[in-house]
Symmetry: C2
Subunit: 428 residues, 2 copies
């Protein structure tokens, strides 16, 4: 029977869970893949840290980079994290030294994936990263294999559990952003530093990777990114009244031979499938020909779901077939045109908090008409006590640059009490 010698580098929650899984399921994986997975080495920053897993003395590597040089290592599993520093050093060196690599590191793949794939292809080793995108949702393998027949025109969905938990809980419990964030941190649904989850960066990395797999293109940094920090209860309530939910969505779409990548809070119809996904779940929707629309939903994060993804990558390597990391040879990947969204059209929700005095409404509507944006629906909610008024406008399809221009012009008016809001609508 063939054997595969593995080194796990990084022993946080995920690394430890994977270590246990591999020792408990050695027989099962061997039967399924006709090859024995052996955890030969492990390494992590702090040797002395108390861990629940039982590491044998001769398994520990004091220098994690030794894993890239040792002859009895075939596969390195990188669970350090971060696009730079030790993770980058490890993965580059591993592939250069003809070791297979499995990683859960979306930041690294989104930034250096093209370079890394080139080295992997040249050296005929695997670089697999199912765990880097939406943990328990087997989207990468589905794109590479189950849906391989398809010309994909659009991929979108909920790629971040933390922000989805926050938005859906603000809605259900009628609580403020900060209240829910503090609950989420206590419950373990938000990390102690949730910046990348909340400002859209986490979704952005995942979307770049998916977009490249869907369109057979190289990774591209042209992406519009906006997080959820500015969404408040009033927006959520307004959305509800208008028949929408607010979700943080990522979109990559091919329109007229150009690719648009964008991440932003989005108003979507209440009765749509995406609106029904609450809590920490992730959902990915793919529009392709011939398959039509295909949807995969599951747990997006956490040690258990991530282990499921890591094991699918490890199993693929156990079965011994070398694949291109991005499903096509470097030579065949395309240089497609990526556009920024300023010329893409959206229907949008705009909200202006203004001083309640005559002439304000007509001034605002004038600015819309001068800037080629036509209004589909307008709701004015006066607050007599505060002598202020909230003006909600839903526009017809309009170019993003005009929407943003209106926002900028109105923001400077002296009747405006706080920064105006723009949330794009997805009507599909």
């Amino acid at each position: 029977m063939k054997k595969l010698n593995i080194a796990i580098i990084g022993l946080g929650n995920i690394g430890s869970h994977l270590f246990d899984y591999l020792s408990d399921n050695k027989k099962f994986l061997t039967e399924k893949n006709n090859c024995i997975p052996i955890v030969k080495y492990v390494s992590a920053k702090n040797k002395k840290k108390k861990r629940k897993i039982k590491i044998k003395k001769d398994q520990w590597l004091s220098n994690y980079l030794d894993s890239t040089k040792l002859k009895d290592v075939d596969l390195i599993i990188e669970l350090i994290g971060g696009a730079e520093g030790p993770a980058k050093k490890l993965v580059f060196q591993a592939l250069k030294n003809k070791k297979h690599v499995v990683t859960a590191n979306k930041a690294l793949i989104a930034k250096y994936g093209d370079q890394l794939a080139k080295i992997a292809e040249k050296n005929r080793v695997n670089l697999e990263f199912e765990a880097s995108v939406c943990g328990g949702v087997p989207i990468i393998r589905s794109l590479k294999e189950g849906l391989i027949a398809n010309k994909i025109s659009k991929i979108y969905g909920i790629f971040n559990g933390t922000s989805n938990y926050i938005l859906s809980t603000m809605d259900k419990q009628n609580k403020s952003f900060n209240e829910v964030l503090s609950d989420a941190t206590k419950l373990g649904y938000a990390e102690t530093n949730p910046t990348a989850d909340l400002n859209g960066d986490d979704v952005s990395s995942k979307l770049k990777i998916l977009s490249s797999l869907c369109f057979n293109s190289f990774l591209n940094n042209k992406i519009y990114v906006e997080g959820i920090k500015d969404i408040d209860k009033a927006d959520i309530n307004n959305a509800n009244t208008l028949g929408y939910k607010i979700k943080l969505l990522g979109f990559a779409e091919l329109l007229n031979k150009k690719i648009y990548q964008r991440v932003h809070p989005t108003l979507i119809k209440k009765d749509s499938y995406v609106a029904s996904i609450d809590g920490v779940l992730n959902a990915v929707i793919v529009d392709g020909t011939p398959v039509g629309q295909s949807t995969i939903q599951g747990e997006g994060a956490g040690p258990a779901a991530t282990t499921s993804a890591l094991i699918s990558d490890i199993s693929s390597i156990l079965r011994g077939n070398i694949k291109f990391p991005f499903s096509l040879s470097n030579k065949e990947r395309k240089k497609l045109k990526f556009s920024d969204i300023s010329n893409r059209s959206f229907s949008a929700y705009l909200r202006f908090e203004v001083i309640d005095k005559p002439g304000v409404l007509s001034n605002i509507t004038n600015i819309f008409s001068k800037n080629k944006v036509s209004i589909k629906r307008l709701v004015q909610n006066p607050d007599k006590n505060k002598r202020s008024s909230s003006i909600i406008i839903i526009t017809h399809n309009s170019k993003d640059k005009y929407l943003k221009k209106i926002l900028k012009i109105v923001a400077k008016k002296n009747y405006v009490k706080r920064k105006p809001k723009l949330i794009r609508i997805d009507d599909n």
Copy 2:
């Protein structure tokens, strides 16, 4: 560059669609899989039938079985259909002669899959059948690869588009079963002979295949099957009032080391994910450890979605890795215990149409209590004009055999105006 010579046997809607796809996407598939797919031969029952596809003279085989003997055939794609007759002959002979096989034939795989897999394994060729279960939903590849890490405890969902279309349209348009069926036939959502779709046989075949893949067991015929023909508007309206939808669901689950396979109309909560799947869509839900719950949704049938599935199988063979058809060697597949559902407990909906006279209700409730079934909710709707009454009972969890016994006892009473109904409830 490597080549793979293909014979397509069966040129109905699906065969023709696949033929066109393969000729239009030869370059794309070659780039993705590093091997050229060549449609060397085709065959079908009637050579003279007018077809839209352009078949070259030397592509046509007058005897379809020749494809199993010709040296320049590596892969046979069986699109004849049916568990017996020519399809069976073709696939057995192909595997015996060391040809790879891809098939969309669920009836054949559900019946002879174990025997066929044994021959494929012995001869080191592939037998792939993604297209046999839920067309555009890449569930088989996901179970074999993306979700390979998981111990699966339950798989269930909507596996038949025709019956889902009928049930959801009866609900939305408040029409009778026969009205909707006739519309569905006109719209092409039901076949001219829809028996297997409506009586649960189609779901049964798919479920047997999925169950075997989930539990690493051999195929097993112990399965409870009930179709949708007895569901009427009154049941759908009653369900609505009680907060449920009625769906035809298939379930395979592992409970106390026994596997239960069942297909039947099911009451599920209105706000559940499965209840939201309307029309011809299919949805498959998998509960596994470590992944948690994972869901895949998409188009279940039709030439386009089926082609997507066939191409994923063909691509896997183009990439050249031999796999076990049921993901494990014949030697490793398990002989698990399959139980019939008589001892499994369900909460259930029962409906009795009775003559409206004193004593009937107490007689019925007496029968329940004598047979160890406790009532959770009872609704009586008298129809004064007809001097009849409709009694709806929702039970607590009760063994299936007791529920069925009650049905049988009450059916014989002279106050009963028509055959009583039993629909199981899924509260998860």
